[in-house]
């Protein structure tokens, strides 16, 4: 089909009037359609989402103490308005001579996910949609290939004998790709090694999420939802204050706790002591000792991110396989079984309900 642009029209008052009316209806219709298209904006709550105060708020590093005080006051007001609790919001700065390192003992982790939910509670993470900073991966024994892991294991009990468990969270890299890619410097590495995010500066481009090799970053796809009763009132500007929608967040080693000497919530909740945290610049700290005495490894070392999160194993040689222990047990009258050793008849260990010798 051929359409030729036909520009000729005859002029005349009547035609002009009609054409005016015609144009008028078209313009009116168009405006109505435009207004209808924009109508979802009526659900916007500008008083909650935007304010001049927030709009002119400076970047974290440019804020004067007064600016910061104003920002903290505003956050306090907002939390009070929304969650009906009065929080204590602070701006915690890194301490000199401190560089934080995390170490995780894979031989001890049993995959109970207590760290995951302790973190959620401590850091005011959104409950619906669910945001969690820690992922515990159930790995089959004999491999470290993450693609073989299962993030969604549900078992009556853990640990499962055929698997080991590998929690992953932000590795606080010394060469963080997420910081490199941020177009607005909303995320940066502080002097104590923690990579932080200014939630009031992030524009939500999610480039950092694409750049992170550890899948550590989470985006607030909608407004986060936290039950009022579950709000943790101990808040930090760069850490666990409630986040707005449309910004990125991640693990920050609980900096509102750790920068005043306390331990991260995930560590405190760990039932087995698999998690170790401390100052790597102190040669006697637990983490320094681990780096010195254990064989540690980091995830995806080949990507050059230099994580401050180390994994190690300290599995002992299983007793059941120890030939010397076997000789001793046999000489004492123990009988070997599928599950371990049974004490000899008449042994009080039997009488008090004891049984097998643990591996």
């Amino acid at each position: 089909m051929s359409i030729r642009i036909h520009e000729g029209k005859s002029a005349g008052t009547e035609v002009t009037r009609r054409s005016f009316l015609r144009t008028g209806t078209a313009v009116a219709g168009g405006m109505a359609a435009l207004a209808a298209a924009l109508s979802p904006l009526k659900d916007l709550k500008p008083e909650e989402e935007f304010s001049l105060e927030k709009f002119i708020q400076k970047h974290y590093k440019e804020m004067t103490p007064d600016d910061m005080k104003g920002a903290l006051d505003r956050i306090t007001r907002e939390v009070e308005h929304r969650y009906k609790v009065r929080p204590e919001v602070r701006d915690m700065r890194p301490k000199a001579g401190v560089e934080f390192v995390y170490a995780l003992n894979l031989s001890r982790c049993i995959g109970c996910r207590k760290c995951v939910y302790a973190c959620v509670e401590e850091n005011n993470q959104s409950r619906a949609p669910e945001i969690q900073y820690i992922r515990v991966i159930e790995m089959p024994r004999g491999t470290l290939d993450l693609e073989k892991g299962n993030h969604h294991y549900e078992r009556p009990t853990v640990p499962d004998g055929d698997h080991f468990y590998m929690p992953v969270q932000c590795h606080q890299c010394a060469n963080p790709p997420c910081v490199k890619v941020c177009p607005v410097e909303a995320t940066w590495q502080d002097d104590d090694g923690i990579t932080v995010i200014d939630y009031d500066w992030c524009i939500g481009c999610r480039y950092c999420e694409a750049a992170c090799p550890y899948w550590a970053r989470r985006f607030n796809f909608v407004k986060p939802e936290i039950p009022e009763a579950d709000i943790n009132k101990d808040m930090g500007y760069l850490s666990n204050r409630p986040r707005p929608k449309g910004v990125v967040e991640k693990c920050h080693f609980c900096l509102h706790r750790t920068r005043e000497g306390r331990l991260p919530a995930c560590l405190e909740a760990c039932p087995t002591g698999a998690r170790k945290f401390g100052n790597v610049l102190d040669p006697n700290s637990e983490v320094s000792q681990i780096l010195k005495t254990k064989r540690v490894f980091v995830l995806k070392e080949e990507v050059g991110t230099l994580p401050r999160f180390f994994y190690y194993f300290d599995e002992r040689y299983p007793r059941s396989l120890d030939p010397e222990a076997k000789q001793v047990a046999l000489s004492l009258g123990y009988t070997p079984g599928a599950g371990g050793w049974t004490p000899p008849a008449g042994d009080p260990a039997r009488a008090i309900g004891g049984g097998e010798v643990a591996r």
Binding site: T25, G261, D347, A358
Partner: protein, 247 residues
């Protein structure tokens, strides 16, 4: 119809058509939907920080309704070493400590308020690491360095709140291996619900195989919603110990 007439007709129709679009957008257009997922309620107790168990630091026990030191009863009830007798009291104790099955290996036969080392030295109940270190030397050294065990209070050893838990604040001395426990619910990530197709691997995983085709035997697959009954149950730390429970 002439070109001009057709143009005019189209122009007349544009206005009402726009109005139609406006009506559609204002009245008919479906609202945007967002999958959110259900909110999991995890009781705070389940994730409370602190020592895993309450250690016995003083040699006392509640017998017949009154709290008294161990020695008070054991003045009467003594057990000569080496004699194999079934227990009458303390039947709640589950003994699962390897070949270490004799009470008096650790408890002092003469002073029941004390524990005893191999050389006969007695130590208090609060000083268990010294006792345990006799057999568990490597773990003890790790514990001394801080590479084994749990520290609470502060990461800074110079801080007065810094406290390294002792052996029996995590391990029950009579049955030191960790018991298997119920894990807290699996994550439900935004939009994971759409991922309904079964994930084929995770069969009997072989470390030498990149991808395996047999279906997984245990636990829901990626994307399937967790069983609701498991979602809200608080975890309890305790089925009977099985082999390999705590490594």
């Amino acid at each position: 119809m002439s070109g001009a007439g057709r143009t005019s007709l189209v122009l007349w129709l544009i206005g009402p058509a726009f109005l139609g679009v406006a009506a559609y957008l204002a009245l008919v257009a479906p609202p945007a939907t967002i999958p959110i997922g259900e909110m999991k309620i995890i009781p705070s107790d389940a994730v409370k920080g602190g020592a895993w168990r309450q250690a016995k630091v003083d040699a006392r026990g509640v017998v017949a309704g009154s709290d008294r030191p161990c020695s008070e009863c054991h003045k009467l009830f003594t057990t000569p070493p080496g004699e194999n007798k079934a227990l009458v009291q303390h039947k709640d104790i589950v003994m699962n400590h390897g070949m270490n099955t004799r009470c008096l290996n650790c408890h002092d036969g003469d002073d029941r308020d004390k524990l005893v080392l191999h050389d006969g030295t007695t130590v208090s109940f609060a000083d268990t690491p010294r006792l345990c270190s006799q057999c568990h030397g490597t773990v003890y050294r790790d514990w001394q360095l801080g590479t084994h065990g749990k520290t609470l209070g502060s990461w800074d050893a110079k801080d007065e709140k810094h406290r390294r838990l002792t052996c029996n604040e995590c391990h029950e001395p009579h049955s030191p291996a960790y018991k298997p426990m119920k894990p807290l619910p699996a994550p439900t990530t935004l939009r994971m619900g759409d991922q309904s197709m079964p994930k084929e691997h995770h069969g009997k995983e072989s470390p030498l195989r990149r991808r395996s085709a047999s279906p997984h035997e245990g636990g829901p697959e990626h994307g399937e919603p967790a069983e609701p009954s498991q979602d809200k149950t608080p975890m309890e730390p305790g089925q009977p110990a099985e082999k390999g429970g705590g490594k």
